[in-house]
């Protein structure tokens, strides 16, 4: 019986640990690039901040993380254009993939970096710095 409880508990905890590992690995990598210390407060402040930028001669403004992810990142977001539902940014959140299967929110390093790159470019017209990315991850951890 004890064994069964341990097994079930492990099954529940493992996905969260896997995610925690991806996030810790990223924080270490950003530190290695000279960033840090990271702060959840800074990440939170940046989350709703709009920083206008120029793209192809046009000024783009009014964009922040909250545009699609909501001001409260613990709630499911919605893509500004396509309406696609976006999973909350909390560590325990699950995303539903195309096959309808559940996936942990921060599943792989590749995915985390891919979306940082795409979304920072969409929001600020540039990639985020290791410091900014670290602050965001600390913010998600604090939720």
């Amino acid at each position: 019986m004890k064994k069964a409880i341990i097994l079930v508990a492990t099954l529940f905890v493992t996905p969260m640990l896997a995610q925690a590992n991806v996030i810790e690995e990223r924080l270490d990598a950003y530190k290695a690039e000279g960033a840090g210390p990271f702060s959840a407060e800074a990440g939170k402040a940046m989350w709703t901040k709009e920083i206008p930028f120029e793209k192809k001669g046009e000024i783009i403004k009014g964009r922040s993380c909250a545009t699609c992810h909501n001001a409260d990142p613990t709630t499911p977001g919605k893509h500004a254009k396509t309406g696609k539902v976006i999973a909350p940014m909390t560590l325990g959140a699950v995303s539903i993939n195309r096959k309808g299967e559940e996936e942990p929110r921060f599943s792989t390093v590749k995915k985390v970096e891919k979306w940082f790159k795409r979304n920072c470019k969409w929001t600020y017209g540039r990639e985020c710095t290791p410091q900014e990315k670290g602050d965001f991850l600390m913010y998600f951890k604090s939720l």
């Binding site: 254009k81 396509t82 195309r98 891919k114 795409r118 969409w122």
Partner: protein, 182 residues
């Protein structure tokens, strides 16, 4: 002579037929080729329906998958790492409409003028013509459809590459094959 020709044809397609249950073979060449590549479905299907390669010609995919095009993918940033980009580009080119044996891909390909390189699937003449009856009430003002980009909202067998009228179920309205004659 005729028999020999038929035999050759059967042999040509037999490797495809062997890969699937006998009956589904007939369907396979009717619509467009289904996409069963995980990298493709994951990378593209993350944001929108993972449209089949056979919905656009090779030249369209080649343009769409250029790094500078992906950086502004209909207003969105859709950058991929170089390894994935090349793999996806090859997959799309190999299965593009203009070299496909699938009937609907052939119709798509034939409808596009040679000097045109459409990037939007909804701008392919064949597809545009087929969707003419899809007025705002069915699409734009239909909260469960919203836009023609959401193919799978109505095309219920799309994952199998099937687009026949009797597989079109418009949310809030019903089967197209039943509504269209009213």
């Amino acid at each position: 002579m005729k028999k020999l020709l038929l035999l050759t044809l059967v042999m040509m397609f037999s490797h495809q037929a062997m890969a699937d249950p006998f009956l589904s073979t007939f369907f396979r060449f009717k619509g467009v080729k289904p996409m069963d590549n995980d990298l493709y479905n994951e990378s593209c299907g993350e944001c929108h329906y993972a449209y089949q390669a056979g919905l656009l010609p090779k030249r369209s995919w080649e343009k769409m998958m250029l790094p500078e095009e992906l950086e502004d993918h209909f207003g969105e940033v859709a950058e991929l790492d170089e390894e994935d980009r090349v793999e996806l580009l090859n997959l799309l080119v190999e299965n593009a409409a203009d070299t496909s044996f699938y009937k609907r891909s052939m119709k798509i390909s034939r409808s596009i003028p040679e000097d045109a390189t459409p990037l939007r699937i909804t701008e392919v003449p064949y597809i545009k013509r087929k969707h003419k009856p899809m007025t705002d009430k069915y699409v734009k003002n239909n909260p469960k459809v919203k836009s023609l980009i959401n193919c799978n909202a109505c095309h219920r067998e799309i994952d199998k590459g099937i687009f026949d009228d009797d597989t079109i179920l418009i949310p809030n309205y019903g089967y197209w094959s039943e509504i269209k004659d009213d």
